[in-house]
Symmetry: C2
Subunit: 445 residues, 2 copies
């Protein structure tokens, strides 16, 4: 047998070339994630408006043991023997999940969603739920994904890792027309728009929720084009009870919508538990039907077997100890987010109003707002902002995947406090003033 590998006689194997690995390895999305992490690590003392972390002032390590004990008692009350409870939490479990019954009660109570347990798939965070939905529903050689843009970097990364073509649909007031135009591009390329991904409440990066008109337009276009609607909604339960809006899944309960859910913002991220509600029926080769969640669980079995039953049990315990509702359990932290939002918006108004070419969204709730600029703000500017001004943010281009992006940044206010927000915005104002002025001068010159 001939040896096709050069240099194989050397005892230490050669470095692999990144171009010889899978496409994602050298992709823009991967480089973007790496860059943002590296900047955050290089400037640990900068004030950060960059990370999308929840506030952790209400979290405690002791919660974990308590939540597990709550779930164990709940099982005992239902006649589950202690050795069975132990096996359920500590052993391997079904790919679909072990706490689907508890999630179903929570969805009915907090989200107005009525589904059976086999319509729910527990996942390693909502990110895995998104990835599994895309990987199951779309065939990359034929199907395109519409994305209401701007949107969270994870959706562009997940699509890229699957080799999917994405078609951004700007989140205009007339979202129906925006989606139809994006779909038209897909048809013109001889392809099929198969699904649309969007965040309904407190978008990332905008902080703005879809209007009722936008919601009904999405559902109308989805019906017309037979699109699977992938609705992400991680911020709805930290908005506080007053800000309750009907989700797309509530407005269209008949299976067209796959609803992604996360407990990272409502319990804590360290559990990595999310879910997909996917009750659309799938017709199998033998004529029987199953839920889309069940179909997706077979891919999950190949990729990660199942979601940590320990982490699932913590989620279930927390839900049970709050009467299956996180909307009310989160009212204290929701108040913190509202406080921070007010602090951020007021600081921006106070310190940025005089800077030319800068405007920003007013978030309904959530963790973020979007600041638009008439001058470019890319990775180089972020580095300069970190180095010279000690303030971090996220360039808006990361919310458009590989597509053309307007200039601007995302500002997070979720995990900080009003004092720090004010000091950070003061630094930001100096950075933006200088950058705006330099740009003008270079235009004049």
């Amino acid at each position: 047998m001939t040896d096709p590998a050069a240099g194989a006689s050397s005892p230490r194997p050669q470095a692999l070339s990144i171009d010889d690995l899978a496409d994602f390895a050298a992709s823009d999305a991967a480089e973007g994630i790496t860059f943002l992490n590296e900047v955050a690590a290089r400037f640990p003392d900068a004030i950060s408006f960059a990370a999308g972390r929840p506030h952790d002032g209400f979290m405690s390590l002791d919660d974990i043991g308590r939540d597990l004990q709550t779930y164990r008692s709940w099982l005992q009350d239902r006649g589950v023997r202690d050795d069975e409870a132990r096996a359920r939490v500590l052993q391997y479990g079904p790919a679909t999940g072990i706490v689907n019954d508890v999630i179903v009660e929570h969805l009915a109570k907090d989200e107005g969603i009525a589904v059976r347990p086999d319509a729910v798939l527990l996942t390693n965070g909502a990110a895995e739920a998104l990835w599994l939905t895309l990987a199951t529903v779309l065939r990359p050689e034929r199907d395109d994904l519409l994305v209401v843009a701007p949107n969270y970097p994870g959706v562009w990364g997940a699509a890229e890792s699957l080799g999917l073509v994405t078609r951004p649909a700007p989140a205009d007031e007339d979202l129906g027309r925006s989606l139809e135009s994006a779909a038209q591009l897909s048809f013109q390329a001889g392809r099929r728009p198969r699904a649309v991904y969007l965040s309904s409440d407190s978008g990332n990066p905008t902080g703005v929720s879809l209007t009722e008109r936008q919601r009904s337009e999405v559902l109308g276009v989805a019906r017309d084009l037979d699109l699977v609607v992938i609705e992400d909604n991680p911020y709805s339960l930290v908005a506080g009870p007053a800000d309750r809006r009907p989700s797309l899944k509530e407005l269209d309960p008949d299976g067209a919508v796959v609803r992604l859910g996360s407990f990272s913002k409502t319990i804590f991220p360290g559990l990595r538990v999310g879910y997909a509600v996917a009750d659309r029926l799938v017709q199998r080769s033998d004529g029987t039907t199953e839920t889309l969640a069940t179909t997706m669980s077979r891919l999950k079995a190949m990729v990660s077997v199942n979601t940590s039953p320990v982490a699932q049990a913590c989620v279930a315990g927390r839900l049970i100890s709050n009467g299956l509702s996180l909307r009310h359990a989160n009212s204290a932290v929701a108040q913190t987010y509202r406080r921070n939002r007010t602090a951020m918006v007021e600081a921006l108004r106070r310190r940025l109003s005089d800077i030319d070419g800068v405007s920003w969204t007013t978030p309904d709730s959530g963790f973020f707002l979007q600041l638009d600029t008439t001058f470019d703000l890319g990775d180089d500017e972020l580095l300069r902002s970190a180095e010279e001004f000690g303030v971090l943010w996220t360039p808006l281009r990361h919310f458009y995947g590989a597509h053309p992006a307007p200039a601007g940044m995302r500002l997070s206010y979720s995990f900080t406090d009003p004092d720090e927000i004010d000091r950070g915005v003061e630094r930001l104002a100096r950075f933006l003033t200088e950058t705006s002025t330099n740009t003008k001068e270079s235009h004049v010159g």
Copy 2:
């Protein structure tokens, strides 16, 4: 805009056709997993030699809180403030992991592997480590995966979910020649054999470990053909200190081997924590290098963000409380597995020796043995065995993916006890006697 979707006027969306979804949905591997789970669920009272579960007699739900507390104290001893410790465990974390330093010390102590923390990627079980390795290292349009066969259903499923061509290499004594033949088929098809997957100790389903000669042959072929060796070894640390064998990663420490690891057999499966040791260097487009583990972490960031820091902290706590060594911590459960192995082998000898056309492997250690038959044992026979004889096992064909498989079954003895093993083998003997006789009669007739 025209509407290409039939039936879109109906308010309830039509069922999706499974043929319209991604290929995996209707695949043999997925159907196989579904079938085996359904049989297990339909016959809960049967004696099961089917599932690959660890023994749970030594596991306790109370361990979780204790292990977390151990990790927290360990961080405190190292000067980590309590709010930092809280954020490390409860917040989002790096895609590469939060306990890489602890894993590195464990690998040095238990496995004779010396790597730096950036060569380790923490994953949602070893299954995700395998999937990420395959997804990163192989390009499906060009690269083939050699698999030492028979092997665990997960590897065939993972490869199928990625659209990879697999080439089985029978685990012959002359494993070098077997691998070369499999590679030759790949070359003949105009493709490239890029990696080889194998389990070095206590194979699944055979229970038999690779000999020293086989180990050195694998490394030789890998060097000649520049193959990435993907070494799985979930059973090495439950074999007991006496059965220590050098892993491929120990024998070839220079980066050619990606070592997959699991804590499912040594701590418990419910944590879903595994890892890949991938210290091979990757040269990036800008000329800098990084570990393969780092490259893989960028795909992980797109698929599941990071591995539950809570679950990682439990693993670290357990390692720390056992002086970084699980080999000794597992000596009690290792004794249980040896006891069960002896019970299984003796029961087979006692009850099956008179049945024509039946033979079996003698496992070194691990959870399984392989029983070979001269008559066919497929899914239909499993159903009959469950229904009429009350005993479950796994048809051997599931360990060959979509490739031709010899007749036989895998028998698990890990999670049961000698009494049940004896009763189960008695049932199995009756089933095999009847099946063997029926086959002979139908051959004679």
